[in-house]
Symmetry: none
Amino acid sequence: MPRVSDEHKETRRGEIVDAARTCFARSGFDRATLQDIFAEAQLSAGAVYNYFKSKRELILAIADTRHEQERAALTAEERDPVAALKTIARRFIEAYLTGADTKRRISLMTWSEALLDDAILASVKEGVDEPRRVLKAIIQNGQRQRLLRKDIEPAAMATAMVAMLQGLVLQKLWTPSLSANAMTETCDTLIDGLRAR
Amino acid sequence: MPRVSDEHKETRRGEIVDAARTCFARSGFDRATLQDIFAEAQLSAGAVYNYFKSKRELILAIADTRHEQERAALTAEERDPVAALKTIARRFIEAYLTGADTKRRISLMTWSEALLDDAILASVKEGVDEPRRVLKAIIQNGQRQRLLRKDIEPAAMATAMVAMLQGLVLQKLWTPSLSANAMTETCDTLIDGLRAR
Amino acid sequence: MPRVSDEHKETRRGEIVDAARTCFARSGFDRATLQDIFAEAQLSAGAVYNYFKSKRELILAIADTRHEQERAALTAEERDPVAALKTIARRFIEAYLTGADTKRRISLMTWSEALLDDAILASVKEGVDEPRRVLKAIIQNGQRQRLLRKDIEPAAMATAMVAMLQGLVLQKLWTPSLSANAMTETCDTLIDGLRAR
Amino acid sequence: MPRVSDEHKETRRGEIVDAARTCFARSGFDRATLQDIFAEAQLSAGAVYNYFKSKRELILAIADTRHEQERAALTAEERDPVAALKTIARRFIEAYLTGADTKRRISLMTWSEALLDDAILASVKEGVDEPRRVLKAIIQNGQRQRLLRKDIEPAAMATAMVAMLQGLVLQKLWTPSLSANAMTETCDTLIDGLRAR
DNA sequence: CATGAATGAGTGTTCATTCAT
DNA sequence: GATGAATGAACACTCATTCAT
């Protein structure tokens, strides 16, 4: 019975988070009302409050799931540094530049919300710091293997790559017709430019 | 205080926009209240409403000045394509990765707000489309001159560069210690990678 | 206070309308504030807004109940035309020229408000058109039966009678001492004057 | 110079009152703003405030001119009582049931406003009391001359007649197509009904 | 006298949150 | 747990009025 109950609770929680994501993506964290979310989840106010004790907690829950996804997309294991960098870019692009706008809208809104809420800022930073470390390590390794140019500053290049990938999320929002394939190829081209000659 | 010169009115307007920018950068478009802005501008409600007829107009005014700046920063004239690209990157970085956080915060908030307001979206798009066209033209020109690699898709590369530069605004927000110089050099490195061999 | 019966909701709604009527009668539609109404109803702002979604809806609700009453007061079934006309007049006078000023004040305010709000105008017109039709039919019938003078234009006389009855509401407001009985008798006299000789 | 100046002041005052009447008739006393009136009069706020020291004074000025007109329309000298009554009715109908709605709208709005402002109420009462006295005297005189029925209570009949005439203002507002001629004839018919047989 | 920018108390309305049932 | 009516502080915005020029 506890198991079943817990399962049920987990399901409920997930439904609420999904409803909240839908509403937040549509109207923004501030403009979406809890009433909207109650309606979307087909649940009463009290029911939702049994799972999340404030609107902020709901926002945090969404920011956290988002950062988990981003972190996952920006990680890779590969022997060849150039291939590893390309794989990371491809994965991120597949995850974030395809499908419905919802995840891109939530990403941007979360980044913006991070300016006003330290807990969200921490979550966003976490989602960015690990990929940055991974990329930096790959680049350093590549330089040690003499496969990448020596004049690259690994940390700065890692930052530039994360910047470009996150920046692509913005571009896709401004220009929905943007092709994920074209961007993957362009990333490959840029990464190829880092090879030692 | 009648028969005030147009000059004075322009000044007043500017003061109000500045106060609004300060408040919005601090608390966000939604959470900053007009009362905050009245206090920051040391003006009464009615005085502000003589210049802007709603909170939204104030937000639009700020979004518009922001986009003017961004567009200015992303434009360049130069004979050599590689030099031109580097100049654009350097200028943008100088404009957006140095100085107080305010402009970066406003940028990110405006991008987010664009998801909810078509007028702001139009302003943001305008601020991005022209630079994209300029970058594309430079790249095409460079390919015609055989100075840049043939396997580059100009439009996609232009988008990638804008993405990276806007993405750097985010990185600087997450990591205030980020060095503008290091990023300029890294951009130079990436751009060098586009040269025809 | 959940799972409240529909009955309770209807009661609540009625309480709010009553409070609103009191406040509007006292201060007018524009000068009565919703805060006044909240206080009079001993309810919070939100509670009232659960039943009426704007001040205008509250005004409309009151205009509508008023027009129902007026329509009811101006309708009659009777075989003899002269008796029927007298009955209608008597009923209206009993309903509108006796008791507290509230209903008269609300009537006048509603008539005035109808100049500015088409929904209220429609409600007022409805409350007047049916009685006018009824009176006209009675007069036509009386003429056919040769009980009423032939030189009466039925529609115009119906209008004149409605005018006089509504005009009495004004007179009672200017002169609270006005006697309902005296007015009933005077109406009878006027109606008697319509008999065929 | 004083004469000229006074004349000019009187002209200005009249212009302002006209502008105010236009705005009030259009939007009501409460909803018309002084800004509307400044614009309609093509005058600045300060200019208007030199002639009227508050919005209420402007409303009072309009209520007063209205009541003068009404009083004038409801007065008559004639030897024959029946003819006198008919003349009064005809004059009032000519004055109030013809031409643009403005005067009718102002009348109704003033009546309503009188519920909230004792000075306006006094003005309205004055405009009604004198006609009532005049009508009463005519009726009493007619009874003495044995030209009118004995069973008429003069004061009540006078009230009924004023009620009907003011009520016609309402009817014309609800039904703009209402014919002044038809109403004049109907009034004549009703008055004829008062003759002694 | 005239101007019109400035004032600021006051308005209708919203919405996260609570809690009696 | 679930319900949803109720709360009430807070918000954007209005407008009669003032007064320095």
